[in-house]
């Protein structure tokens, strides 16, 4: 028989049997074999895997002293050489969930398969959704044994390199990754079935977990525009006529900067829009300022309502742009503007 799979289990101070909040600052420590819920986990793993050690740390210690906790976990993993790491389950305990997620990330960075368990709204998931394989739990720790069984199953699959099915079928929290599958039924049949189940208050599984949206807090308004340097950013595909940089009409991955220090207004002789997502007829034959109102901003500058227009404007095409490209370009434009002490930006959406 092959050698049993070596598992390291992570628990917080409470489940590790050290105590409650009073022990929340306990540093990372190891105990041999399974501890507390680890015994049930060992039962679930059966003779296929052995818990060779249990790491325990206080919840506050792990989250507040992360710089010390991480190397300690790393050192213990190097020493115990596990084939898999199982953390928790943490249910809805936020600090514990974060610690479990951190432990899993440390293991993953060492190519050790890691599984945890927690509520889908646990801070551990909200912070590290993409990095963590977590059995989806409720808030009721009396379900512990069933959860541990699921965690054991997933951990063994991961160690053996078995490809995991969709989150809903395997019982883990979606990691943000979407993958195509072939269903047994057509989409319109599934839609009608799902609707019938919902109307009858029967269980159903939505095929989309709508997470991963950036929650952007708008910047506070500028107190006084008179002292403000204003930057101009446009996704309207505006370029000097001829498009020397070959800005694309859709799916842009680049932005360009154009000098406008001596420009009072955008004219159709000098400028054009190469945007492929809307009718550019008016912009390109009448007035490009609709896509970036330079003439108006210059008026405000001359009248002293704003201090200055930043001498370059940033231009890209906002049409079928990938989220990751948009995020990167936005970050780069923002860094450059802030480094050059621009106070506010007029971003013209198209």
């Amino acid at each position: 028989m092959a050698e049993a799979i070596r598992v390291v289990h992570y628990l917080n101070q409470f489940f590790g049997g050290m105590g409650g909040e009073a022990q929340a600052y306990e540093p990372v420590q190891v105990k041999p074999g399974p501890v507390g819920p680890g015994r049930a986990l060992q039962g679930a793993l059966g003779d296929q895997a052995t818990i060779v050690g249990t790491l325990i740390a206080g919840d506050n210690y792990f989250t507040e002293e992360l710089d010390a906790a991480k190397p300690a976990v790393e050192a213990y993993l190097d020493e115990l050489r596990p084939d898999a790491v199982i953390a928790g389950p943490a249910f809805d305990a936020g600090r514990y969930g974060l610690a479990c997620a951190e432990v899993c990330r440390i293991a993953s960075a060492r190519n050790i398969p890691a599984v945890t368990g927690m509520h889908p709204d646990n801070a551990g998931i909200l912070t590290y959704r993409n990095d963590v394989l977590a059995v989806s739990t409720g808030t009721d720790s009396t379900e512990m044994v069933a959860i541990l069984r699921q965690m054991a199953t997933l951990a063994l699959k991961r160690v053996r390199g078995t490809e995991l099915g969709p989150a809903v079928a395997e019982g883990y929290v979606p990691t943000g990754r979407r993958q195509e599958v072939m269903h047994d039924k057509y989409g319109y049949e599934r839609a009608a079935d799902m609707l019938l189940a919902r109307m009858a208050a029967k269980p159903y599984h939505s095929e989309m977990c709508l997470t991963g949206y950036d929650d952007v807090t708008p910047a506070p308004p500028l107190r006084d525009l008179k002292d403000a340097v204003i930057g101009l950013v446009s996704s309207g595909g505006l370029v000097p006529r001829g498009n020397r940089d070959r800005l694309v009409g859709s799916k842009a991955e680049q932005f360009f900067k154009y000098d406008i220090e001596q420009v009072g207004s955008l004219t159709v002789e000098e400028w054009e829009s190469v945007h492929g997502g809307f009718g550019t007829l008016i912009l390109n034959t009448k007035d490009p300022n609709y896509a970036m109102p330079l003439s108006t901003v210059r008026y405000l500058e001359d009248a002293g309502h704003i201090k200055q227009v930043y001498p370059q404007f940033f231009s890209t095409t906002g049409n079928a742009t990938a989220v990751s490209a948009a995020r990167r370009m936005g970050g780069e434009i923002a860094s450059e503007l802030t480094a050059n002490r621009v106070d506010g930006v007029l971003l013209v959406a198209t």
């Binding site: 993958q179 057509y186 989409g187 319109y188 492929g276 007829l281 079928a320």
Partner: protein, 431 residues
């Protein structure tokens, strides 16, 4: 409304000296059909070809796909309002259809309209038409039209044509063929009759509505444009339309928004929901939300009006779809939200965006009210499309059309399947 749909199965289409349907074989007098098409002075050249499942054929430059249908009793004509057709309310009496086949209109689109407005794609660096093709065999034969016998009407406009005019001409031509071919069934008893009796209601069952958001091309081509999806021939932005499901089956929505066809509405989702009417739910209506409004308030108002209509119909549930993502998706999502807020359980079915390896969410926008969603995938087809022997759609296809085509990675603006209505079994799931 009560509609009988009589099906005349088409197992093969052959060219002959007479145009007629007999025992599952549609015989086509090509000269007769071409003469009909060439009556229109806009059309400079036309040809007709047949392709069957399994052929080494690629159909390109697809303008629209329709199933031949004719009304043999009851008011109106099929595909009403298009290119000057009668706008009498359809959806009653009996419609004959040629089942198992489609009519596909193919042509290159002129790039511009008289006012200089350019047709979609003409300024994009990557043209959408490059990925809208139908392979009839091989691993890429994944669209429903790879499984039907297709009569391809290939046309060329005169050089000086404009996009909108050409679209009218193309629609008129394909509907002339529709009428001529489906007309062959008049006077014969269908192989099979399906009766959609939507007047019958079972009060013990929940009521559902189908709410497709259909993009209008008005923002780009003006209110009288024929481009985009039309309702009884009207493409402009209007408040939501209330249509009976049987009107949809008779072709009350018609036309393509870019290359997003209405065939799946008429031939898949609406007949499917009709087939479950009176058994599992009452299918009480279709609410067509026009999308592409320019202001947020307009989008919100249309969503609110659709929800108000659903309420007035006594709907308990709704299936909401879209036919183009991007800004059109705002109306779609707001409609889901508005329906949920008036207490209508709503399933959103849609194609989704590229996940970018876990870095991007599935939909352009989301609201907490979206709790039941069906994914039809990203529109991509991750297989290589092998080289083909024959290309249909153009008089002289560029040699590039014959070549092997790389896999298509689905994302916004890149959809090969155009599956907004769940005609396929593919879908993305969370992993």
């Amino acid at each position: 409304m009560k509609l009988e749909v009589g099906t005349f199965p088409v197992h093969d289409i052959v060219f002959g000296t007479q145009t007629r349907w007999q025992d599952g074989v549609l015989s086509v007098d090509k000269d007769e059909l071409l003469a009909l098409v060439m009556e229109d002075p806009y059309i400079a050249w036309a040809d007709i070809d047949v392709t069957r499942p399994g052929d080494s054929v690629r159909i390109v430059q697809i303008r629209d796909i329709v199933e031949p249908k004719v009304k043999v009793s009851g008011p109106g004509v099929t595909y009403p309002g298009i290119s000057g057709r009668d706008v009498t309310t359809v959806g009653q009496g009996r419609t004959h259809r040629l089942g198992g086949m489609t009519l596909i209109a193919c042509s290159e689109m002129p790039g511009f309209n008289p006012d200089g407005a350019h047709w979609w794609g003409t300024t994009s660096v990557e043209g959408r038409s490059d990925i809208t093709f139908i392979d009839m065999s091989g691993p890429g034969a994944v669209t429903p039209f790879a499984h039907t016998i297709n009569l391809c009407l290939q046309m060329e406009p005169h050089q000086e044509s404009y996009a909108d005019d050409w679209n009218r001409a193309s629609n008129a031509a394909v509907l002339k063929l529709n009428d001529r071919l489906a007309e062959t069934t008049r006077g014969f008893e269908p192989h099979e009759i399906t009766t959609y009796d939507l007047d019958y209601r079972d009060n013990a069952l929940p009521n559902i509505v189908f709410v497709p958001a259909l993009a209008s091309a008005e923002y780009r081509f003006g209110p009288r444009t024929s481009l985009g999806t039309n309702v009884y021939g009207i493409g402009r932005l209007t408040e939501p339309w209330l249509l009976q499901p049987t009107e949809m089956i008779d072709g009350a929505v018609f036309g393509t928004y870019m290359e997003h066809f209405t065939w799946p509405i008429m031939e898949t989702i609406v007949p499917h929901l009709c087939s479950r009417h009176g058994q599992e739910f009452n299918f009480v209506g279709c609410i067509v939300v026009r999308s592409n409004w320019e202001a947020q308030a307009e989008k919100q108002l249309m969503a609110n009006r659709a929800a108000q209509m659903a309420s007035a119909l006594g709907a308990n549930g709704a299936i909401v779809t879209t036919n183009q993502r991007g800004q059109r998706f705002v109306e779609t999502v707001l409609t889901v939200q508005a329906l949920e807020r008036v207490g209508v359980d709503t399933v959103l079915m849609t194609e989704e965006e590229d996940n970018e390896n876990g870095n991007a969410p599935p939909l352009l926008m989301s609201v907490p009210e979206i709790v039941s969603a069906v994914s039809t995938g990203t529109g991509g087809v991750e297989v290589t499309f092998p080289r083909v022997d024959r290309v249909l759609g153009l008089r002289q296809p560029d040699p590039i059309w014959y070549e092997e085509k790389p896999p298509i990675h689905g994302r916004y603006g890149v959809t090969h399947l155009h599956d907004f209505y769940g005609f396929g079994k593919q879908g993305c799931m969370d992993f």
